[in-house]
């Protein structure tokens, strides 16, 4: 007689597979359990056991407010033209606090110690200073700093009164004044020294030594000389330096009776260059050779100017090209075009980014300070040569400062001695133009 009892799983070697639906006895057992658990009619359903309360939902004691900024001081901003008050405070001992991070500080201002205070600005967390520039001179102001958090804020004690006033001396720039005074003193000393018969050693500047040769070559070839005074206006000191060199070149050109062309990108440079060249021709005794139309304005636009100058170079093929002044991206376009027509090229600029281009494409390049020394170098006047020596002493001062600063700072880092660190910091700040 065949048995109807269910075969226990696992015994036959073909047990129920994992995930297969349960067999009939299992279903019956589950249904029985549900019936026993179901409440009788009218019986109140007991509440299900609640989940353990979440931390956030649990009633929390209110977070303490953020600590107020301490030691708030408000004072007239020093060394300024007035209309500014500087508010300083000490950072809170616990910037984060128990209630979360600070959002920052709100600076409030009033004209009376009792208020009413109005917000005048915000400072980020970690800030310890705020300059209020929306004030009038001679008026007393009171300040308080409010530490703000998302859910709370705390105001500091009231600071003040602070009365903004303009100052007569900018004490922040004492170092610039000192350096300037030293340079002026060195310049004047060497000028007097050379006037009294002193013979300074001035190293040869190849680019300037080549000026006469370059002008002579243009004369021999019967081709013009091109002078490009940069693309900046007369308020740029590089343009001034370029125009001073133009004066010397114009005199040499007048002596050699060669043609000089000066296309400019600024109308003021054109008028200044005309005066300079005219005076140079006069001093060379060749006023009749001066041609005003050879100094002309093209355009203020950078690449329009380059197109005009390049066109001239390709058509007229000048034998010598001078580039003296402030240049930007056009430097290489000009110098490479000049190179392609076989011109002798002498360049000078104080734009460090353009120097490699000129060095690569020109025969001679005046690097930075050489451009400014050119006028003195070419004139050979004692007064001007003295200024070169003064400039050199300034450089020496800078070099000594760098060596001292590096040595002291290295020693401070190695030894950890605080006075050395301060000394290194002093040297660094001495050469900084932004002393606080």
């Amino acid at each position: 007689m065949p048995s109807t009892a269910p075969r226990p799983a696992g015994r036959s070697g073909r047990g129920r597979r994992r995930g297969a639906p349960p067999g009939r006895p299992a279903l019956l057992l589950a249904a029985l359990c549900l019936l026993l658990a179901a409440p009788a009619p009218g019986q109140e359903v007991p509440p299900l056991p609640a989940d353990p309360p979440a931390e956030a939902a649990r009633p929390q004691p209110p977070a303490p407010p953020p600590p107020p900024p301490a030691e708030v001081r408000a004072a007239d901003t020093p060394s300024d033209s007035g209309r500014s008050v500087t508010v300083r405070w000490s950072p809170p001992a616990e910037p984060a606090g128990a209630g979360g991070p600070l959002l920052g500080f709100r600076i409030e201002r009033a004209t009376g110690a009792d208020g009413p205070f109005a917000a005048v600005g915000q400072a980020p967390p970690g800030a310890v200073r705020y300059d209020d520039t929306g004030v009038d001179n001679g008026v007393a102001y009171y300040y308080r700093v409010v530490a703000t958090r998302l859910d709370a804020e705390t105001a500091s004690a009231v600071a003040g009164p602070a009365i903004p006033r303009p100052q007569w001396i900018n004490t922040n720039q004492w170092n610039v004044f000192l350096i300037l005074a030293l340079l002026l003193g060195f310049n004047l000393y060497f000028i007097e020294h050379i006037k009294a018969g002193g013979k300074p050693f001035i190293r040869k500047i190849a680019g300037l030594e080549a000026v006469t040769e370059a002008v002579g070559r243009a004369t021999e070839m019967g081709r013009p000389i091109l002078f490009v005074p940069g693309i900046q206006d007369m308020n740029d000191i590089q343009t001034v330096a370029g125009v001073t060199i133009l004066g010397y070149i114009a005199r040499t050109t007048a002596e050699y009776d060669s043609r000089l062309t000066v296309p400019t990108s600024r109308a003021l440079v054109m008028t200044t260059a005309r005066e300079t060249v005219k005076e140079a021709y006069l001093s060379a005794g060749r006023p009749d050779s001066y041609d005003e139309s050879s100094i002309y304005y093209i355009t203020d636009e950078q690449f329009g100017y380059v197109a005009g100058v390049n066109g001239y170079m390709v058509r007229e093929r000048p034998a010598t090209c001078f580039y003296m002044g402030a240049f930007y991206a056009e430097s290489l376009i000009l110098a490479e075009t000049g190179n392609s027509i076989g011109a002798i090229q002498v360049a000078g600029t104080a734009q460090p980014a353009q120097l490699p281009f000129f060095v690569a494409a020109c025969d001679y390049t005046l690097i930075g300070e050489e451009l400014f020394a050119a006028s003195a170098y070419l004139s050979g006047e004692p007064k001007q040569l003295g200024s070169i020596k003064g400039q050199d002493v300034g450089k020496l001062l800078g070099m000594v400062s760098i060596v001292i600063g590096v040595t002291v700072l290295s020693l401070a880092l190695v030894t950890g001695w605080e006075p050395l660190r301060r000394a290194a910091e002093f040297v660094r700040e001495f050469w900084s133009t932004e002393l606080a």
């Binding site: 308020n235 001073t244 005066e275 060249v277 139309s293 690569a360 006028s375």
Partner: protein, 227 residues
């Protein structure tokens, strides 16, 4: 005499005042730099009339005399006149003549700027790429020891700034990271190049101060054409 004395006096006066103003923040010195800057802008704007007039006169003469290459001058004169007219009359300005900007979008002036001037300027700027290539080819020829060093450094910088630099030396173990090309390129730029650049900048700053002093106290008068 007066032609030199008066410019020298003006230069000395204005230069000295501006130097003093740097150290005196009190009014009226605090505004002087800005005021003089505005004065300069006014003078430059007036001088532009001089420059524009000179441009027209010079190129007009070339055209009228049929000088060599006068066609270029003709293009210059026509371009100048055209832009001047459409700018002054605000031709094609969608907002009309009054209460509208010369450079308003859609105006003929704006169209000339967008579709003629800018492409021409961009073309000139694009030429720079070719000039950089030709100048580099000439500068980086290993003619001597110095040029060879320059070539090597340039190679490291060029390769180090691209993915190739990292790829070529990726096989180096972390302990030899300082030999990777990007690392070397970075150090060359931030240490060697920066130091050299600073030296040039210090020299330039001293040169500017020295030149300014020479011009202000009247030692250097070369810009007036005299030695």
């Amino acid at each position: 005499m007066m032609r030199r004395t008066i410019p020298l006096f003006i230069t000395a006066f204005v230069g000295s005042i501006l130097v003093i103003a740097y150290f005196i923040p009190h009014p009226p010195f605090d505004q002087l730099r800005e005021d003089f800057s505005i004065f300069f802008d006014i003078i430059a704007a007036v001088a532009f009339i001089l420059g524009g007039g000179n441009l027209i006169r010079m190129h007009g003469n070339r055209v009228s005399r049929r000088e060599k290459g006068y066609g270029y001058s003709l293009v210059t004169v026509i371009g100048f006149a055209l832009v001047l007219v459409i700018g002054l009359t605000k031709m094609g300005n969608p907002d009309g003549f009054r209460n509208s900007s010369v450079t308003a979008a859609g105006s003929y002036f704006d169209l000339a700027y967008q579709y003629v001037f800018r492409p021409c300027a961009a073309t000139m700027f694009a030429l720079l790429a070719f000039y950089v290539a030709s100048a580099s080819f000439r500068a980086f020829r290993a003619k001597n020891v110095e040029a060879s060093i320059l070539l090597l450094v340039a190679f490291i910088i060029l390769v180090g700034r691209t993915f190739v630099g990292a790829w070529l030396t990726a096989w180096l173990p972390p302990s030899l990271d300082f030999l990777t090309i990007p690392y070397l390129a970075d150090k060359i730029m931030t240490v060697l190049n920066f130091a050299g650049n600073r030296a040039i900048m210090i020299g330039i700053a001293l040169g500017i101060v020295s030149t300014s002093l020479k011009v202000i106290i009247g030692i250097d008068r070369s810009y007036l054409g005299s030695g």
